[in-house]
Amino acid sequence: MIRNITLGQYYPAKSRIHALDPRVKLFATFIFLISLFVNDSFTGYIFIIACFGMVIRVSRVPLGYMIRGLKGIIFIMCFSVIINIFITEGQVLLSFWIFKITLEGLIRAAYFAIRLILLILGSSLMTYTTTPNSLTDGLEKSLGFLTYLRVPVHDFATMIGIALRFIPVLSEEADRIIKAQEARGADFTQGNLMKRVKGMIPLIIPLLISAFRRAEDLALALDARCYNKEKWRTKLHPLKYSRADVAAYILLLLYLGTVIASKYAFEYMGFV
């Protein structure tokens, strides 16, 4: 069920990374992604992995825990790695039937795999170290400028917050409905794919109806508690930058600078 997914779930710990402002962490994830796409050298990856490794250390999220979270994407990863190995032209190392493996293909696949793993670990580190609530706050504040373009940023943030609040509620409800239908002799585990999909109807319909009912209740509750469009809204815990946050911003810019500079430096020196 939904509850078994650990990827991206908050990992409670007291660390410097946990204590950072969510806006810094969002920015850091963004910078990290850029650095992954800018870099195309082996040495660059060593630098990136070293930096990332240090951040993980500081975050106190166990590496094993993070790697376990990757389980869910193994299939997609293998699939794209294999595609990369076979479709890249170049120096042929091995060939059979219509397939051939090239040196370039292997290198590209390896780079691709590293990139994908780092990408996922990087963004999940953000969610491991940031509560959903402060993440939404961070997003709302970071994207606040969009309000001037008439994008209802606050409404979106409220929606995300409510969605997060209701994930456990609805997953519990799903469990309950499954059990109730099983008590009526339903079997959700037998038969072929078609039969199983059809068999889900007694679960999905009640779940949808319940979600609509909850949405209706919630809309009333929001109204009753004065939800409105005015700009005077205050916050119980407003986001405030600390010195550590400023330091983090500087480090991040230095990091990105290094990655970009080294790319051009290597090109200039003739490596690629």
């Binding site: 309950r176 059990k179 109730a180 099983e182 008590a183 002799g185 007694p202 319909i205 009640p206 319940s210």
Partner: protein, 283 residues
């Protein structure tokens, strides 16, 4: 209706064993349920009531002990669990939330269909069940979601009755209904027991409702704290109060009156109490 006997033999259940979330569901429960009898299960939220109900229906399998239906172990390898599901019907709390079909009759047919009855048999069983719960024929082809709250509840109960169980287990069947809706459900259960010889097991928070049962089972932290006839169990006022549970109104009154120096026998309901009081009054 079939006459059956369900026995829980030294049954225990633990949630998330071996993890930090480990919690006790039920510990060493020895219980026996039969057709034609009524049972009330009382206890706080988290006392193990819902674990017990799910064990009775095979939705959970015990970590220790056995569940026997007419002497057969329902978790033995060759046992067909549907046999248990059709013999011991389980109605969850707010069962109307499980309705999903376009029409009332189709929804009630869901259970018997799963048990492998032919469409004609399903229809027969469904009609009979709906008649029992007092849903009139003109509602059979209606969308169940357009019914009133009390009617939806009764349709959902019919969905379990249509499987023709020998024992019907209900988790707070009257929760959230108004007094009339509640009375309808309680009188339905009485009818099922008297005319259909069905065993009724009901979880209830209302001691006055529970006092009508042949046997009362009190759960606390997963263990059976008290068990016996309603009279025996509700006599244990101190013990129940210690568990944060109440006794029926007439028994509370009896105690209060005794503490004010009026010599009363144990009175169980308003009728007994008023008779006893009037006897003293006329003396």
């Amino acid at each position: 209706m079939k006459t059956i006997k369900l026995v829980l033999e030294n049954v225990s259940y633990v949630y998330n064993p071996g993890t930090i979330y480990e919690t006790v569901g039920i510990t060493d429960a020895d219980l026996s349920f039969e057709s034609e009898k009524s049972y009330a299960v009382i206890g706080h939220t988290g006392s193990g009531k819902s674990t017990l109900l799910q064990l009775m229906n095979g939705l959970l399998s015990p970590a220790k002990g056995r569940v026997l239906l007419d002497g057969e172990d329902v978790h033995a390898k060759k046992y067909k669990i549907k046999k248990l599901r059709s013999s011991v019907g389980l109605v969850f709390q707010y069962p109307e939330y499980q309705l999903f079909e376009e029409t009332v009759i189709k929804d009630v047919c869901f259970g018997p269909k799963n048990l492998g009855y032919t469409p004609e048999e399903c229809l027969e069983l469904a009609k009979e069940a709906l008649r029992l719960v007092g849903i009139e024929e003109d509602k059979f082809d209606q969308n169940p979601f357009n019914l009133s709250g009390g009617q939806k509840r009764r349709v959902a109960i019919a969905g379990v009755l249509a499987m023709n169980p020998g024992i019907l287990v209900l988790d707070e069947p009257a929760a959230g209904l108004d007094p009339e809706g509640k009375e309808q459900i309680l009188s339905l259960l009485k009818t099922l027991r008297e005319t259909k010889k069905m065993g009724i097991v009901m979880v209830s928070h209302n001691m006055d409702d529970a006092s009508g049962a042949d046997e009362v089972i009190v759960l606390d932290k997963g263990s059976i704290a008290l068990k016996g006839s309603a009279r025996e169990v509700f006599k244990e006022y101190e013990r129940l109060a210690g568990l944060g549970l109440d006794v029926p109104f007439a028994m509370r009154m009896t105690r209060l009156l005794r503490s004010r120096g009026i010599d009363l026998p144990d009175c169980f309901d308003n009728e007994e109490l008023s008779k006893a009081l009037l006897k003293i009054y006329k003396r």
